[in-house]
């Protein structure tokens, strides 16, 4: 009962913050509110016993991405441009997708239902044998690092590659790579044009 009460209050907080984000035009307020939204969803993950996900959401969603948005905001005007045109089509698409998702939720298995399909495939084997085989009490860690070690290697490579890509884009000419010798093309073009004119 208390879990239900906590869930309802958290979800209503999230809805209020989402509406405030939609109607606000000040970028700083929007960024801070999206950080608060992430913090509340982290609290929801704790309530769902997914503490690992809550950790990540609190640190990345509420902390790191807020900092990145603030850093990006330094290059933007403080207020969002007000859009006075009626936006019927996006509203219709949002309402349609939202109602479709709400309709689909009714067909999902109940939360934590042991008979649902996802808990029937390999999960029983992991739960039954992981402690006897590995002597590690946290099944999440054994699945992540041992049973699914190859997938986690892929995830690590993805993080590395994504970081590398963003760094290459952002560092531009400020990186430590040696400066390429500047060739001033426009000067050369004007020189050539001058020569043409002289010849004529």
């Amino acid at each position: 009962m208390s879990t239900l009460f906590i869930n309802i209050s958290l979800v209503s907080f999230m809805v209020v913050i989402a509406l405030m984000i939609t109607f606000s035009h000040r970028l700083f307020a929007i960024i801070i509110m999206s950080g608060a939204y992430s913090l509340i969803s982290a609290a929801m993950f704790v309530n769902l016993d997914a503490v690992d996900v809550a950790f990540t959401e609190a640190a990345v969603g509420a902390g790191f991405s807020t900092v990145l948005f603030l850093a990006a905001m330094a290059w933007l005007p403080a207020e969002e441009k007000r859009n006075k045109a009626l936006v019927i089509l996006p509203l219709m698409i949002c309402l349609f997708t939202g109602s479709l998702l709400m309709w689909a939720v009714a067909y999902l298995p109940a939360l934590g239902d042991p008979a649902s399909v996802v808990h029937q495939h390999v999960a029983p084997r992991y739960l039954a044998e992981s402690y006897d085989k590995l002597h590690i009490p946290n099944v999440v860690t054994t699945v992540l690092a041992s049973y699914r070690g190859f997938d986690t290697l892929g995830e690590t490579i993805v993080i590395f590659t994504a970081g590398l890509g963003v760094l290459l884009i952002l560092m531009g000419k400020t990186g430590r790579s040696p400066k390429p010798k500047k060739v001033d093309i426009s000067a050369k073009v004007s020189e050539a044009r001058d020569e043409d004119v002289n010849e004529k």
Partner: protein
């Protein structure tokens, strides 16, 4: 923010406990919730706090970008290296059983090494991204376009000069 005593004292006081907590999450991940991904983000958060309160230059002294960028690759290499090591010891890729005398101990070693690699990559990637974002500078970034502009003006001027000469 460097001159605000409250921020300065609190961030200095929090720096070590945050890193200690990150190490706890990293190496206690076998027994409690946590692991490399979470620990990496928490440790990076300590450095980001330091960089936000003191300046980016101070952060670059504490964590030189060249080392941070090298650690990004090192973490992924440690992870893949464990896989290669199990290869060489005669088992499948990332089958940690062969890393020690008996399988369960080998799995412990393997998981701790692999999680360490993940934590290293995540922490240094996030820190590197923060430094790249915070140090991003449009005038310096588009230095090339600015250099080109005066040349264009000169190019535009020269026809006028010719016209007056004529």
């Amino acid at each position: 923010m460097k001159n605000n005593p409250i921020l300065r004292v609190i961030s200095k006081t929090l720096f070590a406990p945050i890193i200690l907590y990150g190490l706890y999450v990293q190496f206690h991940g076998d027994f409690g919730p946590g692991g490399g991904f979470q620990a990496g983000v928490i440790i990076a958060a300590a450095f980001i706090l330091y960089g936000m309160v003191f300046s980016l230059d101070e952060l670059k002294l504490l964590a030189p970008p060249s080392i941070v960028h090298a650690l990004m690759a090192l973490g992924a290499l440690i992870y893949a290296g464990v896989g290669i090591a199990t290869f060489l010891l005669g088992a499948e890729f990332l089958n940690y059983d062969v890393l020690a005398d008996y399988p369960a101990k080998g799995q412990h070693y393997g998981i701790i090494l692999v999680e360490f690699g993940v934590g290293l990559t995540v922490a240094s990637t996030i820190l590197g991204l923060f430094m790249a974002f915070a140090g991003f500078d449009i005038p310096r970034y588009s230095a090339r376009e600015k250099d080109a502009k005066p040349a264009n003006k000169a190019g535009a001027k020269s026809p006028k000069k010719r016209a007056s000469d004529d």
